[in-house]
Symmetry: C2
Subunit: 349 residues, 2 copies
């Protein structure tokens, strides 16, 4: 590959002049240099430029699982903004593992200008380490305990959980179960809290055997739904706290030939491309996905502009939205559980 020296020699100037020309400065021998560049098919070495400038022009993106449609959409959103800049994305998957995340982050620090991260747990310490290294960091989807000093694009998970709970209550359910995500994760914890809040506010209790915690993966949704259905008194409604667990739960219900929503109502968190096409079409709490990724990337790129570099952390909290489809309905035989009474809001379909 040709270097700037080769081009300079050919054009009869010094490397410095070629460099200046390439960066848009006025030079006398512009045509000669351009010709040399063309003939030799010269492209500056990004590595040499990086060493010189201290900038890599790459953004590290660390997500738990790229095959989760939510994260795929988020990454697409990020890509849609970098595509108009001269930044590129370096992608890493952590499989929800903190160790893996530590390893990834440690080596990214020296290779990227900034990082967008969906941390594996709220307790992660590595992000502090990243900040100390002077690498701008933005959280997406998930937060850190005490992470207020970092930029973040999140969703109002508590409200989302509440929406799910209130929806089931409004249909008249009182025997309600939750399949929550990892509790050391912002969305896992908050969605459950919001959900329980809604029930509590309505005087509906959620017994421990209905209050299950999974790990955001399909398999755990499957297993927990199975265990729920094998209870002596199974719930009449289930809230599942992410797309993958909802799919797992749906599979379990199908395997058991459960009638949805006849025997049991199911509400999920995060819509799916196939949501309306499923058996039955899924009622879900939806939220922006591609937009979340785009916003996170914009937040990060701002940090590279001197005027914003030292701004206070920006925390963007987006709203969730209930999408009612056919997987939820009033319970078939409304029971008057002791103390629960008529908790519904009177809305019927």
């Amino acid at each position: 590959m040709a270097t700037i020296h080769d081009v300079a020699a050919r054009a009869g100037v010094s490397p410095a002049t070629v460099s200046r020309f390439l960066r848009g400065q006025r030079v006398r021998s512009a045509e000669a240099i351009q010709a040399a560049v063309d003939e030799m098919d010269y492209w500056p070495s990004a590595t040499a430029q990086s060493l010189q400038s201290g900038r890599t022009h790459t953004i590290g993106v660390v997500v738990p699982d790229i095959t989760n449609p939510y994260f795929a959409a988020v990454v697409k959103g990020m890509e849609s903004v970098t595509r108009h800049t001269d930044y590129r994305i370096q992608l890493a998957n952590t499989d929800e593992s903190s160790e893996r995340e530590d390893a990834v982050l440690a080596e990214m620090i020296r290779r990227v200008d900034g990082i967008i991260l969906a941390p594996a747990t709220e307790q992660d310490q590595t992000p502090m380490y990243v900040r100390d290294a002077g690498v701008p960091l933005v959280f997406v989807d998930r937060d850190l305990l005490g992470g207020e000093h970092f930029d973040a694009v999140l969703v109002n998970n508590t409200k989302g959980g509440r929406q799910a709970g209130e929806h089931l209550l409004s249909l008249g359910h009182t025997r309600i179960a939750a399949i929550s995500g990892s509790q050391d994760t912002t969305p896992g914890r908050c969605r459950r809290e919001g959900f329980v809040q809604a029930l509590t506010a309505a005087g509906v209790e959620i017994p421990p055997e209905h209050d299950l915690v999974g790990d955001f993966r399909e398999e755990s949704g499957y297993q927990l739904a199975l265990s729920l259905l094998s209870l002596p008194e199974p719930p009449t409604a289930i809230f599942s706290a992410n797309n993958l667990m909802t799919l797992g739960a749906l599979k379990a219900l199908h395997d058991l030939r459960t009638d949805i929503p006849g025997e049991i109502s199911l509400i999920g968190f995060d819509d799916l491309d196939t949501g309306p096409l499923l058996r039955p079409p899924l009622t879900v709490v939806d939220r922006p996905m591609v937009e979340q990724g785009a916003l996170a990337m914009r937040l990060l790129l701002r940090r590279f502009e001197d005027q914003y570099a030292n701004d206070d952390a920006r925390r963007i909290i987006l709203d969730t939205k209930l999408i009612e489809r056919a997987s939820t309905a009033p319970p078939r035989k409304p029971r008057t559980a002791a103390g629960a009474g008529r908790t519904g809001r009177g809305r019927q379909r």
Copy 2:
């Protein structure tokens, strides 16, 4: 950030010695150096190492759409192998655009050690340019006309298309339609060819108005299915050539309240995570996904080993597999179309 000079100064040795120690060579002042490294939290600059070695240790991955579950799975497969190496992945989305692909590739050439690409069209010239630049290139999912000199991990698309056609024929269908993918793409062309081959071999003709070509996106599947259903004599069965278009077709059929498979059978290409949960569960031609990505990455990494660097191109062609679910069935009122006769293989459900 500490540099190797800082560490050397602190340990009382020369930078060269620190460098040797770091690379595992025996040195006298090992402990002193290790201590300095720890205290200063020193990590070598990847950029400086790259400039020196000429290797970036990053792999460029270029796909048309990361939110297509097939490509998400492929990327995950790649990640599962790089994770055990010291290579990382730089990801780019092309949105099926050749121009975008050209741009991405052009700048990747100077930044990565190798590239895995699912080319936007079979006519792409850029890959030749990549090869001329001395950057190893592996195709995944899609091939290039005259691309035999490149490593590739593909699938037997022709056979897959044939399987789809034979399945519909075996059910007794004779009024059959195809929604194909871009015809300047390997999978788009081959799947259609295989499909048509199967019909032709059985003496079944596919009229032009049933032989539709889309662009692998959901919207085109939707529109084309719509147009198929509005025909005076709509088909009794549709083959849709990828996951997204199948979803689109399914949506169209739902919107028209079409009974599947009663009025119309639908068979897709590429399974979905939600495949069994859809209304109705989808019959599809399936193929390995994660494995395809992993294999492509292994092929590429081999090129970095001297012993294999100059081997002939390795072309891995994987097999497809029919998964029969509930979206296909015999046509409701088998017509004896002139010349078609009983083309079924006699199998009935």
